[in-house]
């Protein structure tokens, strides 16, 4: 007889060991979920959560966000790279024994955490890395990585800014790609998540 564990129906259990990716730009949650799901990580997505902002001691509604709860998993540097590209204002929390021990976030947020009193753990900057690995696919059909497979590597030639698109160069065929041509190993295109509106200053 199949027994149903009622706890599976509860909303979200607090994570004891794992990662919470908070403040994901709404719409990027499913995209990130796909990337993580590909590797069999145990993920609970939270989409379109309300965010609030404290202004003059009052909590005010401040739009929507997506959240990912990952139980017992680790993110690779490629995952973090992908998050930095699609949602540069996300906050990645490492949780151990129910406590946040490490936060990776944008420079501005890091500055807030560093001066604030709420958090005293480790801090790391979330920024687009100088290179990416297997997380991307080469857009050149004649590239050896598409013909014969094998590991991939990409140099980040241009980090995205308000006016400039991300440009990556394949370490094998040396072709450069930007904008909509950039594709992740799940088959998702960067353009699937739209242009990120919250660029860093």
């Amino acid at each position: 007889m199949v027994k149903t564990d009622i706890r599976n129906y509860l909303r979200i259990r607090p994570i004891e060991e794992g990662i919470v990716i908070d403040h994901l730009r709404p719409g990027t949650g499913l995209f990130i979920l796909n990337l993580l799901n590909y590797e069999g990580l145990r993920v609970t997505p939270g989409l379109n959560y309300d965010t609030s902002k404290e202004i003059d001691g009052e909590l005010l509604y401040d739009g929507k966000k997506d959240i990912m709860f990952i139980e017992g998993g680790e993110l690779t540097s490629d995952h973090i790279g992908a998050i930095s590209i699609v949602s540069p204002l996300a906050v990645i929390n490492h949780i151990k024994e129910s406590k946040v021990i490490n936060k990776i976030a944008s420079k501005d947020r890091i500055a807030e955490y560093a001066t604030g009193e709420e958090y005293s753990g480790k801090l790391g900057v979330l920024e687009v890395p100088n290179s990416l690995g297997n997380i991307l696919l080469c857009a050149n059909p004649k590239c050896t990585t598409n013909k014969e497979g094998g590991d991939r590597c990409f140099e980040v030639i241009q980090k995205p800014t308000e006016s400039l698109d991300l440009v990556v160069g394949c370490g094998y065929c040396e072709k450069e790609f930007y904008g909509d041509v950039i594709r992740f190993y799940t088959g998702q295109r960067l353009s699937d998540v739209g242009k990120t509106r919250y660029y860093l200053k």
Partner: protein, 338 residues
């Protein structure tokens, strides 16, 4: 204590090195290759053929290229190096679905001293170079990885071509710096032109002109590299106007078969972007050199045969220079220098 000069350091770093992409080389390293090629050009044949006596070169060409192949086999022969052309991979293992990296893994066991690979897939030779060590890391490591030389990987790189172009410029003008360059005709489809234009970023040209039809312009990624550099450059549409300033005119064959143009447009491009002997005679410096990666097209393509007798015609010497550059590379990757 013996002081190690920077030149000696570079020479040591060449031993066992792969030659995959011109981008992997610093200016000092390119200069060393050119210096070695210059020395080798002057060594008498009888002496030269002892330099790599006892060494073996494997040549794997998945894509036919008679000129590149003969240039490598002659470079080996003239250095006294034995070579073996590995039978057309199309008819052997590759047709059974063997990957290039497995082919290389197999060949490294046969005591070759270097391999030259030409393959249709972009980036394939870099991948192959990752497998040029002994196949299983758990077994005892028998020595250095076998150096792999790229004889052309699809539309990507043909580094020895770029090196021979640089050698030709240096040989004819004495330097790569303070010269005015004109890249002419199909700037969109030629990997030779792209690699040379990128390599020149390591030097200090006086000015670089890119002359082409608006449909066959230099790709954006190269233009943006020039924009970021200090080098003065300009995109022009007629070579006649700037010709008097030019020291190196690098012409190419328009690869119109790759383009979806009307026949009318193809004809217009062919006739407009054709180097004419009388224009060269009228406007070019005597010291200017016309270079071309060859083959040139028989019909109307430039440079025409009428240019062959001009003092500026240099493309056949350019092709011959490939021999010395490839000799230099074979020596350097085996740790031999002069």
């Amino acid at each position: 204590m013996v002081k190690i000069t920077s030149k000696e350091k570079i020479i040591t770093s060449f031993k066992g090195r792969h030659v995959i992409s011109i981008r992997d080389f610093k200016k000092e390293e390119l200069d060393l290759i050119l210096d070695q090629a210059e020395i080798l050009e002057k060594i008498p044949r009888a002496e030269k053929c002892k330099i790599l006596d006892g060494y073996h070169l494997g040549i794997i060409f998945y894509e036919p290229s008679t000129r590149t192949k003969i240039s490598f086999t002659r470079a080996a022969d003239t250095l006294g190096m034995k070579w073996e052309g590995i039978a057309d991979p199309k008819t052997s293992s590759a047709s059974k679905g063997e990957t290039l990296r497995d082919t290389v893994r197999n060949l490294v066991g046969y005591e070759f001293d270097a391999l030259v690979i030409r393959h249709n897939d972009d980036g394939s030779v870099r991948r192959a170079s990752e497998y040029s060590h002994y196949p299983n890391k758990h077994l005892e490591f028998p020595g250095e990885p076998i150096p792999i030389l790229n004889g052309g990987d699809g539309s990507n790189q043909h580094p020895t071509q770029t090196m021979l172009d640089l050698y030709t410029i240096k040989e004819s003008q004495g330097t790569m710096d303070s010269l005015t360059y004109l890249f002419h005709n199909d700037l969109k489809n030629g990997r030779t032109i792209h690699s040379l234009a990128e390599a020149l970023l390591l030097y200090q040209p006086k000015k670089v002109y890119f002359c082409s039809s608006s449909r066959l312009k230099m790709p954006r990624h190269i233009i943006s590299k020039y924009k970021k550099s200090d080098i003065e450059f300009e995109e022009v549409s007629r070579y006649e106007d700037v010709l008097p300033e030019v020291d190196i005119l690098y012409d190419t064959r328009p690869q119109l078969e790759r383009e979806n143009f009307t026949d009318d447009l193809k004809e217009r491009i062919k006739s407009m972007y054709r180097i004419r002997a009388h224009t060269i005679k009228e406007k070019a410096k005597e010291s200017m050199k016309i270079m071309h990666p060859l083959p040139r097209n028989q019909n109307l393509m430039s440079p025409e045969e009428e240019c062959d007798d001009l003092p500026q015609a240099y493309y056949f010497k350019q092709a011959h220079n490939g021999l010395f550059v490839r000799q230099a590379l074979l020596c350097l990757v085996k740790g031999v220098s002069f």
